[in-house]
């Protein structure tokens, strides 16, 4: 895979950005030495990159996360050391951007530096099964809102359409047309179709660029 120095995951609230960012960092770590994941999500107080802290650190991935993430302090604060991903040119950084335009606004702080270096991938995570991005038109609107909030254009689409643990192979294949239409209108390629690992083999038989992902947020109440 052709890795850029900075890979940003952005998209609609709840589209699966955080889980994809964690999976991507794991993938990246297999090929690169200096890998970090930056949690810029200042919108969601509950499910965050920090949930996977032990797992990430275990494989030597640096976690750049707010002091307050997953704490009882409801502060929309950016991590103090987030600028490391800009300064340290030997680092491969994966950035988990907050959902929608509200979440992406925080990215604007780093936009000029990211653009100046021009070694980044900005991935638009889409999920057709989310109620407010059910059709191409509303998804494109979310995309444009994010782009104008953070002032960076997307360079690719990741089709992460899923129904959680209930996702079937057919559920994924049904969304191919949706992803391609978005790709056509936005004039950016569908870089990857992310699929839960246990059904990814089946999808791979029918689709190119399938990315097998693991679900990193199993909790005591998960059924």
């Amino acid at each position: 895979m052709d890795f850029k120095r900075i890979t940003l995951f952005s998209g609609h609230y709840g589209s699966g950005k955080t889980n994809l960012a964690v999976n991507y960092a794991m993938l990246l770590r297999k090929e690169k030495e200096n890998v970090a994941i930056a949690d810029l999500d200042i919108v969601n107080p509950y499910f965050r990159t920090k949930d996977s802290e032990d797992e990430l650190k275990g494989v030597g991935i640096r976690l750049i996360s707010s002091e307050f993430a997953n704490s009882n302090v409801d502060l929309p604060a950016l991590p103090a050391d987030a600028y490391t991903m800009i300064d340290d040119k030997s680092m491969y950084a994966v950035v988990d951007v907050g959902g929608d335009d509200r979440g992406a606004l925080a990215l604007g702080r780093y936009t000029d530096a990211i653009k100046a270096e021009n070694n980044f991938e900005m991935l638009f995570v889409i999920n057709k099964y989310r109620p407010l991005t059910r059709d191409v038109k509303s998804t494109i609107r979310v995309m444009e809102e994010i782009e104008s909030a953070c002032r960076i254009r997307f360079t690719g689409v990741v089709n992460n359409s899923n129904l959680g643990m209930e996702t079937t192979v057919e559920d994924v294949l049904e969304t191919v047309e949706y992803a391609e239409e978005i790709s056509k209108i936005a004039e950016i390629p569908v870089k990857l179709t992310s699929v839960r690992r246990d059904i990814s083999g089946e999808v791979q038989k029918k689709l190119e660029n399938v990315w097998a992902i693991d679900i990193h947020f199993k909790r005591e109440w998960s059924i």
Binding site: N44, Y46, F47, N72
Partner: protein, 362 residues
């Protein structure tokens, strides 16, 4: 089978409210229920409804009183500290016999507490929602699908009995994502001859076939106030007889009975699987309505099991209702975490073993 979508509990609840005919959302943001307000802010303008971020929780609940008095379905949502603020309005809603739909996505308390999930507003919801003699119908979802179905049900029950229905969820229910079907069927419409809908532009009291309606909770004559309270409690009795909802899980051969609602019912189910692999016969009774509480179901279970364990994210609140319902004829143990911490299935298993030991033989 309707098409499914992947939704957060809070969003699913909001969409279900819209499907239930709610066109008036009056609220104020607070973690972990803010997605309800955020979702309504996006959706209400699309369907000609009203989204209003009030200046405070108290203002929001009083706006609900206004909308409901006019005969329309209205809702407000908040999390624990915000619901405390609403308690005055909840009492007035009861005093006025107005239907309303109120959501509490609980967080840790008391005071400002924390923002992680909790069930420590059980007492507030089921026993002391505000001053005076009254009850609310309290519904406890344990999945995103139930955030939808119980919202739909909640609006129906509110209109049917002219009461407040409260969804008592917790932060996990609000924040978790699961696939849901939004196909809830038809809305039942109830006549509201009491609604304040004007007198057709005339000042003559009987110009529209009835005198003008007044909605009021001030009854200064003791006998009159007492009469209203008796009438209200006769209605509550009907609710208790007809609207109890619960789920039984692996209770057929159970020696130990867990009692849990919401997120802890999910943890309990995971614990039951582990305990059963170790040979302990344990089941779960999950109250879906916390008021009316499934008293008879627990009383019957007490004849069959050796001990109960109340699994709660509080210092022990529902356990009192379990003890009352079972008349304490079996030991009732408490398995609890608080402050926003969720117990692990293993912690529940440890408590099941303790219950197994002290429960004795039947």
């Amino acid at each position: 089978m309707a098409e499914k979508v992947l939704m957060k509990g809070n969003e699913a609840l909001a969409e279900a409210a819209i499907m239930a005919g709610c066109r008036h959302y009056l609220g104020y943001p607070i973690t972990p229920q803010t997605e309800v307000a955020a979702y309504m802010a996006k959706r209400m303008p699309q369907i000609g409804g009203v989204f209003l971020q009030a200046e405070s929780e108290i203002a929001a609940i009083n706006m609900v009183i206004g909308v409901s008095a006019a005969g329309k379905r209205a809702m407000t949502s908040s999390s624990s500290p915000g619901v405390s603020l609403k308690s005055e309005g909840l009492s007035y809603l009861a005093g006025c016999d107005l239907p309303a739909f109120v959501v509490n996505v609980q967080r840790g308390g008391p005071g400002l507490g924390g923002i992680q999930p909790s069930q420590s507003d059980y007492f507030m919801a089921t026993h002391a929602g505000g001053h005076g003699d009254f009850h609310m119908i309290v519904l406890a979802p344990a999945s995103v699908q139930e955030m939808v179905s119980l919202t739909f049900k909640g609006f129906d029950l509110a209109d049917k009995y002219r009461m407040t229905s409260m969804i008592l969820a917790d932060g996990t229910m609000g924040q978790m994502m699961e696939p849901v079907s939004l196909d809830m069927g038809e809305i039942t419409h109830y006549d509201k001859p009491w609604a304040v809908t004007g007198t057709g532009g005339s000042r003559e009291p009987n110009s529209i076939g009835r005198p003008h309606n007044i909605i009021n909770s001030l009854l200064l004559q003791p006998e009159e106030l007492e009469r209203f309270n008796f009438e209200r409690y006769a209605r509550y009795k009907v609710v208790e007889e007809n609207e109890v909802m619960y789920e039984e899980y692996m209770m057929e051969d159970a020696d130990i009975c867990l009692v849990a609602f919401g997120v802890t019912a999910r943890v309990s189910k995971n614990a039951i699987k582990i305990a059963r692999e170790q040979g302990i016969k344990v089941g779960l009774i999950r109250p879906i309505t916390l008021w009316p509480f499934p008293k008879a179901v627990l009383r019957n279970a007490a004849e069959k099991v050796r001990a109960f364990v109340s699994v709660e994210l509080s210092m022990g609140q529902m356990i009192e209702d379990v003890e009352l319902a079972t008349r304490c004829i079996r030991p009732v143990l408490l398995c609890n975490r608080t402050g926003g911490v969720i117990m692990t299935p293993e912690e529940v298993v440890a408590k099941i073993k303790e219950a197994d030991e002290i429960g004795g033989s039947k």
